[in-house]
Amino acid sequence: MTILTEGKDGPVILTPEQVEEFGQALDALRARIDADLGERDRDYIYKIIKTQRGLEIAGRGLMYLGFLPPFWLAGVAALGVSKILDNMEIGHNVMHGQYDWMRERGINSREFDWDTVCPADQWKHSHNYMHHTYTNIHDMDRDIGYGILRIDEGQKWNPYYLGNPVYAFLLMVLFEWGVMMHDLEADNIIKGKRKWSDLKPLLKGQARKAGKQVLKDYVVFPALTGPLFVHTLAGNAAANVVRNLWTFSIIFCGHFPAGVQTFTKEETEVETRGEWYVRQMLGSANITGSRLFHIMSGNLSHQIEHHLFPDLPANRYPEMAPEVKALAEKYGLPYNTGRFSKQIGSVWAKIFALALPDSLVKRAPKPGVIVMRNRKATEVGV
């Protein structure tokens, strides 16, 4: 098998042996970090949790002074940051099983639930399983467009996509609700690929979870501030939206900037572990930034490392990144990274460009991956 990557200076050809070596080098890196996990990681995640809980309490408290605009704003900021930390550096990562090895009840993928309307179990299915196993494979990874958007040229254009920027904007503002609906695969219902009856348990779970979230943010906490009911309600809604804008932006930078590759089912049938790693690498993109930026993004600014090692604690990605980057360079594979403004700009450019039929837009130079398969099934291993 050969993997052909179109680099700036022409195609890069990896022999099966090189793919294998690449995979082994990553396995070795993984093993090294795995063996080193301990007290330090525990301290880290507890420190983040403590910070998040502190900000949450501060935000709720500040709402009692919500009639004064600076306090209202500070409250929204504190609560917004608390929700971002809860969803990203804590929730996303804990529910990936990154801290399961600690065997703590409160930070365990089986038990943890996050401060959004999406129930943990449904998210774990659509994200941990579907998205992380079938990353960037058309018709398998539903994160390509979320069943709503056209985000890759491989999706056939139709007039519905003229509204692409509008859908993207709405998805951004209402992101937590979009994430909640993700596992329903509503587009497949419309297409008749999925039965209504499949949805019943999912809808039930969503009603239960979303009901509690709505009750807390839009009824109980506002009521607890008495005459400031409306102020608090607006503040809580604003905090939720702040979180939505941010998480949407970070997440879309992970797989949709220019230079990221998508795959077909045929190309990726029965992969070796090395090939799986190559696909994860080609299909993800990083964002450069400060330590605080990485924490606020749940280290999804290290999307490449996250996709190679989704179950290793995210606070280890920064120290793994230089090694991963060096490996990518060694094998001539692209390591997609850039400033936040560059990555998010490129995402929105794509959203706009793909709204139009292909005949009207200049095709972006596409770094294609050609996978030639002539292997026996016995050569394939996990």
Partner: protein, 363 residues
């Protein structure tokens, strides 16, 4: 109280209230049971006695039962079972544990070296059927060996505290006299109560003098020994806890006498790692479905499917955690890292773990 906790949890949703309280103080919890170490004593070499003050959720223990203690060692929480050694139903929240530091015993060594007043540990409610029955039997024989002394010590102290009027014999096997925990107290009880008999054996060759005390009898448990210390044993309830050879010796004699329903036992087992972990031996039991099959060395997910079970799974390559199941007992090997794990009651990803020897999975 419960209503109030629910109400407050509406505000902390989706996180349980305890996840906030523990950040204030680890011993402060609304629902979860914890305990704080209040006193540490190293009176007996190689073992440590801890006094714990449980949080208000503690419901006490019956003499002979065990509790689970959880401590965090290098970032990982490990739990182990220990029997409280104090008498039952003291009506307070104090529990005493004597922990022997086993060679290679992670938790026992940690507690032996690091337990200090103020340390907070996880605690699970007392459980186990190895307990002194209500009402108390008319005659009681207690036999223990090594660290198996702990549950029977609780029984003896309970009977003492209750001014028990029947016959009690306590027979304990140890390597040396100084290895017997709470020896002074045992002697005090025996002196105070004529109907209580406390005997120690240090099984070396009969007649050998060990540190000034002469071992009597054969040194090991046998029929003659039983006749000597508790001639009334056929009318008694007998409780045994100790290493497997002692348990077998007791069981054999009681079986031969047709008294198997009068003897109650609890074994303190340690899972040992087989010499060659790559070799597929032993039996894989899926205790939730009551099926078992010979270990094939394949990932446990495949082994479960081979016997007709349909566990939940996703990626089948160790990344999504859909297949996580509880390993009740036994040793497993991670197929990706080669890491062995012999801890009981642990969550494992069955798609990338296989059995090393006998393993029980709750599926």
């Amino acid at each position: 109280m419960v209503g109030l906790i629910d109400l407050v949890q509406t505000l902390t949703t989706p996180h349980p209230l305890d996840r906030y309280l523990e950040l204030v103080s680890p011993a402060l919890t609304a629902r979860e049971l914890r305990a704080e170490v209040t006193h540490v004593s190293h009176a007996v070499p190689g073992s440590v006695t801890l006094t714990l003050r449980a949080s208000r959720q503690w419901r006490g223990h019956a003499a002979g039962q065990y509790v689970q203690i959880g401590v965090s060692i290098n970032g990982v929480r490990h739990t182990r079972c220990y029997s409280p050694i104090d008498p039952e139903s003291r009506g307070d929240r104090y529990i005493q544990l004597t922990v022997k530091a086993h060679p290679g015993g992670l938790v026992s060594n940690y507690l032996h070296e690091h337990a200090k007043p103020g340390m907070v540990v996880d605690l699970a409610p007392a459980s186990g059927v190895f307990a002194l029955p209500e009402p108390r039997p008319e005659k009681v024989l207690l036999v223990s060996g090594g660290s198996g002394i702990t549950p029977v010590l609780s029984m003896l102290r309970t009977l003492d505290a209750e001014d028990y009027a029947g016959q009690v014999t306590f027979l304990h096997y140890a390597r040396q006299p100084e290895m017997v925990p709470h020896r002074a107290e045992l002697t005090a009880i025996a002196t105070r109560r004529p109907n209580f008999r406390v005997e120690y054996r240090y099984p070396v060759e009969p007649g050998t003098v060990v540190n000034g005390e002469t071992s009597t009898g054969s040194g090991f448990f046998d029929y003659d020994e039983l006749e000597r210390v508790a001639p009334w044993f056929a009318d008694a309830q007998t409780f045994v806890c100790g290493p497997p050879p002692l348990m077998r010796a007791v069981q054999t004699i009681f079986d031969a006498e047709g008294l198997q329903d009068r003897v109650h036992s609890e074994e303190f087992t340690l899972t040992t790692v087989p010499a060659d972990p790559a070799e597929a031996t032993g039996t894989v039991t899926f205790s939730g479905s009551a099926v078992a099959a010979e270990n094939t060395g394949a990932p446990l997910l495949e082994q479960a499917e081979a016997v007709g079970l349909t566990p939940e799974y996703g990626c089948r390559m160790g990344i999504c955690f859909s297949c996580t199941a509880t390993k009740v007992s036994g040793c497993t090997r991670n197929l990706r890292t080669g890491e062995l794990d012999a801890d009981p009651d642990k969550q494992i990803q069955i798609c990338v773990n296989t059995a090393v020897g006998d393993v029980d999975i709750a599926l």
